[in-house]
Symmetry: C2
Subunit: 259 residues, 2 copies
């Protein structure tokens, strides 16, 4: 479960692995179970032996102890192996863990842009948080202007899927919608929380559906729901429902949960 010899790690050579980015408040990670469920689903999909969640939790907590609020990033790779796509037998996955302080983003309206880079349709890899992230990297590389907070990505079928590092929700006719993630995109833990919170339904969205929405929200497991204030030529005022969702999210990370 340690760094070891990364030179021949299959995560480095092929992106053969998964990751999770988990927010801790002290030693507590309120959404821990959902992170572990997604990690184990990813293991099943990629054919990797699943780690023991209790062992992972102990390790993450030890690291989380170094900051009052922290972000623990876990990488579970297929481990070391000889050259070639064929995995070694037995497969010995490697877990890496990284801690950094969590920096609260001031709740404000986000400024977004549309990305040129498209997400390919690949049901076998959709939903899980695997290490093949060139699409997101190239989308994020489309801008360096710091006035933009994020970029929205479409798939190759011209459906809007997500921001580079957050899921998207839009409210239309009072109802919250979020794109399905069964052909591309990631089933975010923040997305799961928000689907529950607002009884959102999964629905395909095109550019016009987003730009004409009553409110648009990005969410991920670190920052929770954040409202989009500007996207291309459309702008939105602060939405009270989103504000109350942000309050609920903040509460989640402030009242000493059992874990």
């Amino acid at each position: 479960m340690s760094g070891g010899r990364l030179q021949d790690d299959r995560g480095l050579h092929y992106g053969d692995g998964l990751f999770e980015t988990i927010r801790f408040s002290g030693a507590c990670a309120p959404l821990w179970d959902w992170h572990m469920q997604r990690l184990l689903l990813g293991c099943a999909r990629l054919g990797l032996p699943a780690p023991d969640p209790a062992v992972v939790l102990r390790r993450a907590r030890r690291l989380a102890g170094t900051h009052p609020q922290s972000v623990i990033k876990l990488i579970l790779s297929a481990g070391s192996g000889p050259r070639g796509y064929a995995r070694p037998l037995p497969l010995r996955p490697r877990m890496l863990a990284f801690a950094s302080p969590f920096v609260e983003s001031v709740p404000r309206l986000l400024h977004l842009r549309w990305c040129q880079m498209r997400l390919a349709l690949q049901p076998a890899l959709a939903g899980i948080k695997h290490l093949n992230r060139l699409e997101q990297v190239l989308a994020r590389a489309e801008w360096s202007d710091t006035s933009f907070d994020e970029g929205l990505m479409l798939d190759t079928g011209e459906h809007v899927i997500a921001a580079t590092a957050a899921n998207l929700f839009v409210r239309k006719d009072g109802r919250w919608l979020t794109p399905p993630v069964d052909a591309c995109g990631i089933a975010g833990v923040g997305r799961r929380w928000l689907i529950n919170a607002v009884s959102a339904i999964e629905a395909p969205l095109d550019v016009a559906a987003v730009e004409t929405a009553q409110a648009c929200v990005l969410t991920n497991a670190l920052h929770g729901p954040r409202q989009i204030g500007q996207l291309a030529r459309r702008s939105w005022d602060v939405d009270r429902q989103v504000q109350s969702l942000q309050d609920r999210w903040r509460t989640l990370f402030s009242d000493g949960h059992p874990r």
Copy 2:
């Protein structure tokens, strides 16, 4: 240009980088220039600063000197950076180089299977040899029966594209065809050599076109052209034209080229 601190390498975290697998005969790599051309094309496509090919060659040759026939694998990653898809500025790519002895495969007929795993259509990443290789890894994981030498992959549009680690050529009506690699797949250096050698043309192929071909060949930069002898219920006898192509390939690696 050395290992350094791989824990925060963007190759490991996101597959943000490229690789090349190059056959050396002593200090000579006859197809070196084509490997470098593809690597530089990959740099341009991913937005990575290009390495100096002369520096790369010196380093590869030093490593190649350890075996009479060797395989040099180069990884060029986007280097170290903080958490997040945004690349650091300035970007300092990291080059890793690995040497292993080259083991000649006895020229014989290959036994292939069809893979279930599909290649997604992603023109932005097609052709280049980037580090996001989960599709190939999962396709290769579909079999452990050592009687199979390789598996053929289709794209999500049901076109046959390539084997997991080799390009495909088929002869029909005396003419050699190979699938285009502009929506998925890799523009192999062995593919480039064989296109030149037999004046192959790029053409979409479906399963039936492959199974009814006069001869089918896999090729990559290590082993050159190798004939398929069995695929599903179809089998083929040794083809004399393929044998002569194998002789030409062997000559390439035996007569002390200038580099």
